[in-house]
Symmetry: C2
Subunit: 404 residues, 2 copies
C-alpha cells in the first residue's frame, strides 16, 4: 500500500509538475543530436585558469582562507557588494548577493506575491521566472510586445489593475531576443512609477551585445527619475537582477539584486531564512575573476557569439520556407521563430528527435497561457557554424514537411 | 515623499522583521566580549589544505574542470548523490543536494505548508527552522520535551490534529543539547507513521558525539519499519536533512535531503525554480574532501569540542548560583541554561554587553510562543577553556545580581 503524498502537500504543490519539454529534452541529450535548446554559455569560453588561480589565491592567503570557508552574512561578501554597488551607481545597502539571478526571482516572488495576486509579465517571457513566481500562486496578466518591446498602451491598461510588479527582460530577451528601445524604456519607467507598480528588471544577458549601442538600464533611468523625488531609497521603483552566469561561469552561482533599501532589507531576511548566505569562497572568487578578467572576457564572448548568431541567421535565411519569420537579436543567446499557424512547436520537436536530429525549445512554455504553439526558441550560444548551418537546413525541411 | 513599500508586499512579508537578538548580537561582535552566541564551527579546525587541494584537483582535471564550472542538474552532482545515498542506505533517487540544510528546511516549508496549516515542533526548537517555515504562514503546535526528548503522550495528542509534519533535531538539539533516547525514537517513528504525519529529521550535529553510543537515526528506524510495508519509497515517512557545514566547512553551502521518491521529486522541482542547482564545483569539492578527510576530521573535532564542553560544564558547576540548572549534552555545540524565573534572558544579555563582557542567545527566540524568557543558550564550539572559564564566572555573577 503506497502512501499518497499528494494529499500531504500544500495547495501550492499541486501546480508543481515536471515540464514535459524538459523530459523530452533529456532524451535529446545525445551526441548525434545538434541542440539549440539550452540557453547555456559555451564552456570552452570559460576563464577556467582565472577561476583556478582565484581559488588558489584565496585559499593560500592567511588573511582570507579561514573567512572564505566560514559562515558569512546573508547580505553577501562586503567587497563584492561594494564592487557591484559601484557598478550600479547605488549604495552597498542596496545590494544583496544571491545564488544566481534565479534565486533573486524566487525571493521577489516570496516577498511580493500571495495567492491570487496579479503579476504582470510580457507574453512570451522567461520560463524560469514563471517557474520562480508560480509557487506563490499569482494570477498572471500579460502585455504584448512588438519589435521595440512592450506596447505602452497595453502596459498602461494593465498597470491600472495594480499588479504586484512588472517583470521584464529588456535586453535580448529570453526567449524572443527582443531589445526594448530607449523610447519604450523611458515610457515604461514613467508609467510604472506613476501607477506605483515596481519593475523587476532581469539583466542576465545585458553584457552580451553584438551590434548597436548599449542602452541605459531601467534601473539607471529610474534612478535619474527618483533623483528629483528624494533619491533611489525614497522613490526608486526598480528591482534589478544581475548575474555572472553568462559572462564568467554559471557554477559559482553568484548573482545579485539591486533594490531600494526597504525591499532590499526584506530580501536579506528572506535570504537568511532560505539558505543563510551564498558560498563565501565563491563570492570571493567571483569578485577576483570579475576584477581581473571580465574586461577581457566580454569582447571574447561577443566575438564568438556574434559569429554564431550571424551564421544562424544566415542559415535561417538560406533554408527556411516561406511563412516562417524570426527575430534578429542584437545580443544574448536566442533567435525566436514564428512558424506557420498550423505547425505546432512541440510536435515539431517530437518529430525532430529521430529525423532532423535537432533540438530546440517549443515556444508555448514561455507564454503564461500556453499560447504561441507555433513558435520555437533557438539558442546559438553552443552553435558552431559548421555544425549549426546544416542542422538548420534539416530543421527547415522538417518545418516544411509539417507546414504542408 | 518616501514610498511606503509595506503596502506593496505580500501578506506573508508582514511577519518578516529583523531579529532584535541578531541586532543586539551584532553590537556584541567586539574583541573584548567573549561570545557563546553563534553555533558555528571553529575555523581553526577547518580542513583548509584538503579543501584547497580539492579545488586544485578539480580545476586541473581536463575531464572535470569545464563541467565543474557549468550549469548542472537540479538534483545534484551524481557521484555526490551516490555517496550520500550509500551512507543513508537509500537510492540515488532519494537524495537532493541543497545549499546547506537550511535550504532543505525552506523547501520542505514550501512543499508542505500553506497559510494556517499546522506544523508540529518541539518547544524549544531550532530558530532557523522557525524562520524557514514561517514565510509559509503555518500555525505552530508544540510538544514538550524532557531529558529524553519529546514526550510520547503529548506527541500523540498533537498528531491527532494532523499537522503537515513533525520537525525534530534528535541529536544534541539546537538549542537544548538534548538527545532523544532510543526508546523515544522508536515511539516517535511508530506514532508518526500510524497517524500519517511525516517526520522532518534535522541531523546537523549528529556526527559531533563526545560521549555514549551513536543511536540510529529516525530515518534508519523508519526504513526498517517501511521495509515490511513495501519499502522506503512506498511507505517511508521521514525527510532527513544532512549537512557538511558542521563537519567540513560551512562556506561550501552543501547539504542534502533524503526522502521517499515522491516528495523528493517535488523538492527537485522546487530546487530548480528556486536557484537551479547548488554550485557544481562546490559539490565536487565537498565529495573529494568528504572522502579524503571526513574520517580523520571527525575524531579531531570530537576531541577539541569535548574538551570545551567539559570545561564549560565544569565552570558552570563552579560558578553558577543556586536556582540555575543546565543540560549536559553528549555532543553538538550547545548547553542550555534555565535561570531563576525572575531572570529575563534578554535583559541579562543587555546587561552583559558592558558588565560581564559575555554574549549568548536568550532562549525565548527558540520558543514558537516566545515563552522560556528565563532560558539562555551557550555555545561552546569557540570556547577555549582558558578564556571561557572566567567568562562563565562573570556571567554567573550577572545572573546572581539579577536573581536578587
Amino acid at each position: 500500500m503506497t502512501l499518497d503524498w499528494t494529499t500531504r502537500f500544500s495547495a501550492r504543490a499541486a501546480g508543481m509538475t515536471a515540464s514535459e519539454i524538459r523530459e523530452l529534452l533529456k532524451l535529446l541529450d545525445r551526441p548525434d543530436v545538434v541542440s539549440f535548446a539550452g540557453g547555456i554559455p559555451d564552456p570552452e569560453l570559460f576563464p577556467a585558469d582565472a577561476v583556478a588561480n582565484a581559488y588558489e589565491r584565496v585559499l593560500t592567503s592567511n588573511e582570507r582562507k579561514l573567512a572564505a570557508l566560514q559562515y558569512s552574512v546573508s547580505e553577501g561578501y562586503g567587497p563584492l557588494r561594494a564592487h557591484l554597488a559601484e557598478g550600479a551607481g547605488v549604495g552597498v545597502e542596496n545590494v544583496l548577493v544571491t545564488n544566481g539571478s534565479q534565486q533573486g526571482l524566487d525571493f521577489i516572488g516570496k516577498l511580493f506575491v500571495g495567492p491570487g495576486d496579479r503579476v504582470l509579465v510580457t507574453s512570451p517571457t522567461y520560463l524560469g521566472a514563471l517557474q520562480a513566481f508560480s509557487p506563490y500562486e499569482p494570477a498572471y496578466d500579460v502585455v504584448a510586445m512588438d519589435e521595440e518591446g512592450p506596447l505602452p498602451d497595453a502596459l498602461e491598461a494593465r498597470l491600472a489593475a495594480k499588479p504586484r510588479f512588472f517583470y521584464l527582460v529588456p535586453d535580448f530577451q529570453n526567449p524572443t531576443g527582443i531589445t526594448v528601445s530607449l523610447a519604450r524604456r523611458e515610457a515604461i519607467v514613467a508609467l510604472c512609477a506613476r501607477h506605483g507598480v515596481p519593475i523587476v528588471e532581469d539583466a542576465a544577458y545585458t553584457r552580451l551585445r553584438y551590434d548597436g549601442q548599449d542602452l541605459p538600464s531601467l534601473l539607471e533611468l529610474d534612478r535619474a527619475r527618483a533623483a528629483g523625488e528624494g533619491g533611489f531609497d525614497a522613490a526608486g521603483n526598480v528591482l534589478y537582477l544581475g548575474t555572472f552566469s553568462k559572462t564568467l561561469v554559471p557554477a559559482l552561482r553568484v548573482g545579485w539584486v539591486v533594490a531600494p533599501a526597504d525591499p532590499l532589507r526584506r530580501l536579506v531576511l528572506i535570504k537568511q531564512a532560505s539558505d543563510l548566505h551564498t558560498s563565501t569562497i565563491n563570492q570571493m572568487v567571483a569578485l577576483e575573476v570579475a576584477m581581473t578578467t571580465l574586461d577581457r572576457q566580454i569582447p571574447r564572448l561577443r566575438a564568438v557569439y556574434r559569429e554564431r548568431r550571424d551564421a544562424m541567421l544566415a542559415a535561417l535565411s538560406r533554408h527556411m520556407p516561406a511563412g516562417v519569420s524570426w527575430s534578429r537579436p542584437e545580443g544574448g543567446m536566442f533567435v525566436w521563430l514564428t512558424l506557420p499557424a498550423a505547425v505546432d512547436g512541440a510536435r515539431l520537436l517530437a518529430r525532430c528527435v529521430e529525423g532532423a536530429r535537432v533540438a530546440f525549445v517549443p515556444g508555448a512554455a514561455f507564454f503564461p497561457d500556453r499560447s504561441g504553439t507555433n513558435t520555437i526558441r533557438l539558442s546559438f550560444s553552443l552553435a558552431k557554424p559548421e555544425v549549426a548551418a546544416p542542422a538548420i537546413g534539416r530543421l527547415a525541411e522538417a518545418v516544411g514537411a509539417l507546414a504542408q
